[in-house]
Amino acid sequence: MTASAISRPGERDRLPVKISQIDWRLAGLIALIGGAGAMMLYSVAGESWAPWAANHLIRFSAVFLVMLGLALVDVRWWYAAAYPLYAVGLLLLIAVELVGETRMGATRWLDLGFTSLQPSEIMKLGIVLALARWYHGASAQEAKWHWKLIIPALMIAIPVVLVAHQPDLGTSLLILFTGVAIMFAAGLSWRIVLTGVAGILVIAPMMYFFVLHDYQRARVDVLINPEADPSGAGYHIAQAKIAIGSGGLLGRGYGLGSQSQLNFLPEKQTDFIFPTLAEEFGFLGAFLLLAIYGGVIAISLRIASLSHNHFGRLAAAGATATFALYVLINGAMVMGLAPVVGVPMPLLSYGGTVMLTVMIGFGLIQSVRVHRYLELPKSRGVI
């Protein structure tokens, strides 16, 4: 009955049908990660709901509802919002440059009076939607190799440069890689891709010497030789590795990780929550978590591939790329495979802004799934 009923015109727009089209496996895995986060935050606070675990759980519940709500928003609304959101994000980034609030040596915040805002977070979503919309209107050939590609390239480059200048290397790289991933998924010529890879290999060392700030360079140095300065810049990585390594196969037991309980692990509630989990739950626990992240990524990309409209495909793929990059960068960072760049483990780490950004991304992905049969004309007003 369902198959025939659902194909009836107008049937898909009914709310109960839409809700039934939400990918509940994905929602379940996301909830599992959020719950694991709350559990770890309870542990690192010394078996206490305060100050993090309770907040985390409340926020997660709220943004989970936001995700469900956004899942029901028509893809055409996302499409319509793409450029305006990008424009607002860009204006706010410029505003930060001019009147931003400086905390801990970085100018990332805008003081709105009642709350402070990180415009770079808006840009994470804005870049995904704006690129998806641009490629939606572009032909296969234009996506592959065309002078018009200068437009998406600039769309990526401008926020990347602005964010890097704050300086916030982590977010800047995240935006850059997300944009590049979307360009790649949209069908960028292999020749360009390979040239780009070769170019990075040449430019990266030059970046190291001429562009990076001293503290950023120190982080790279530490990655190459972490034992050089175990109490200074290498301290974070060294302590995180001790935490992970001492967990062993089965872990030291919930609430018994001495590295985090005794504060040897810095930023244990945010960027370094994963080592705590690895310390207390061992290889089995940590590997299971990675597998869940892998499942989330795989399901999300599957959703992207099932969409009937190009905007939905690219938007879902882009949002997934952002999420995957969070996971990979944070994982590599805490295990000593990448420099410390201040990227949290999404949904596991304490922190509302990133959680909101990521969950809006999942709202987008769910929306793409709910509206996967929607055909969007290539270039016309959709609403």
């Binding site: 069908g187 967990g247 001495s258 810095p266 495909r313």
Partner: protein
Amino acid sequence: MSDRPTIYFNEVNERQGSFLRRTFLLGGAALAGLGVLGARLAHLQLIDQRRYASAAVANRFNDRIQVAPRGRITDRSGVMIAGNRPSFSVSVVRDVTQDLDATLDLIARLLPDTAERRRRIIREVNAAPRFVPVPVKTDLSWEEFARVSLFVNELPGVLATMDEVRFYPFGGSFAHVVGYVAKVNERDVETVREEGEEPPAVFYHPGFRIGRIGIERSLDRDLRGTPGYQRVEVDAEGRVRGEDSDGSRTATPGEEVVLTLDADAQNRALEVFGEDSGAAVAMDCRTGDILCMASAPAFDPNLFVSGVPSAVYAAWRDYERNPLLDKAVGGAYAPGSTFKPVTGMAAMQQGADPNRVIVCNGAFYLGRRFGCTGRHGPQDMKNAIKNSCNVYFYTLATEIGPDAIAAVARRMGFGHEYDIGVGSQNVGLVPDREWRRRNPVRGDPNWYPGESPSYGIGQGAVAVNALQLAVYVSRIANARKVVMPRLVKSVGGVERPLQPFEDLGYDFEKMRILQEGMEMVTDAGGTGFRNSQLGLGTMRLAGKTGTAQVINYGARGRGRGGDWASRDHNLFIAYGPIDDPRYAVSIIVQHGGSFGGTVAAPKAREIMRTLILKDPELLARINAPVQPEAPETSQ
């Protein structure tokens, strides 16, 4: 726009097909990335687990060293010479204070004098190991301590504690012989390394002190004890979260050291020296126990415990009477006339008759004129000792030569270093022909007869220290045994075994000649008569005066006046009582000036009186009713 359906669909298919392939690649890349993370996880957690687990334990537990209470040092009757006293102190722990400058500012508000030592404090704090408290100020008054304690909870990394510090109740009296303790420095660490050992961890504890000179140094390992460890669980800020009593060990206090010294005699020695510079050594001439070994002027060893202010140290260092030098063993001086009994014994050993009479006309000629202290006329050996007649001993020395004198000098105790636990001994010099061969004068390795007369009266190259002089007079007093000095009576309750002494090997009759000569010195008409009377009934001392020339006499008049540094050294050796010798004493007064026994002898007498009055046997003799048949008492 003419949209041809086929092209439209192809275009859409092309975009979709490309997207699917690319997304599949992206997904593969993401999963591969996760796979790399998983592999890394396996590497850290499964392969290197052991290494990181032990690193976590090392992080978590902190073995806090507790310095053992240092062993006490007492005199022969248990009077404390070196002990420990409580001290309130304020310390700073580097890794807990977020801002050292701000913390020191706050401390300076409570303890204003710390501001002056600020740079030194910062240097010490930065040099200390992690989580080790560094004292900012020690010996706080109760009010200061209370004031700091009130605020200590608001000052992160500041501790107010009660520690034990080394304490020398007699101040300078024992400064050289007992020595002092001080903070471990680079040289101490190097010394330990040179012995092929690793310096113990306790060396780096700011509360630990190492023995620097004297007994504190030579018995440092016994006195030090074994440090304890308190294994505590700490967090990253170094705050103690709990204690692991299984991993802890309590400190074992250092051993108590009992010396042969007598605190009263030692204090008396410093007292009688007053401002004079020199040394006094007193010994039991039957056991060899050193009862007094003082060097004057002295310094306060308590100042070294927490660090001597540089102005004070400079004053000590620059003072011409050199309080930092241990003159009892560290300074060698010409023995002067106190050496004459050696020459006498050497002559008798060469077959000379002590009753032989040599006429003193006030001078002796051998290439040049050798003057005497007077015109003594005919002298036998006893009288020559009594009158300190130079001519008599010039003659003997010239006849027997340096090697005979050197042999007796060495047998009598000169030219040796004594293993008593006090380092930096200056062994002085006992010259002979062999020495001259190794130390030629302007390329000439021969000993000329013209050098012997001076040698015979203890001048020239011969040099001795006060301890050797005391050993020498002990052997004369003992007359039978090679008395060896001993300073350490027991360590940790274990008595240091007394070695049986060798026989001296000189005929008792010959020794009696020397003794009788020295008895006459302190009797009416002798050079030391006036200043060596004990005033204890019939009990008397025997002695020998000595004056050692420091410079060639010129117009300045026999070295008695003039500036301090050019005056003669004044010496006196004595033993007593003469009928049953028990104590021997040697005094060197550096640049004491004044001929004969006027400066040194009273000092010897006072020390000797102290010793005799503390000796129950001798005291009984003094207090015994006077024997009616004693000729002295019959009118």
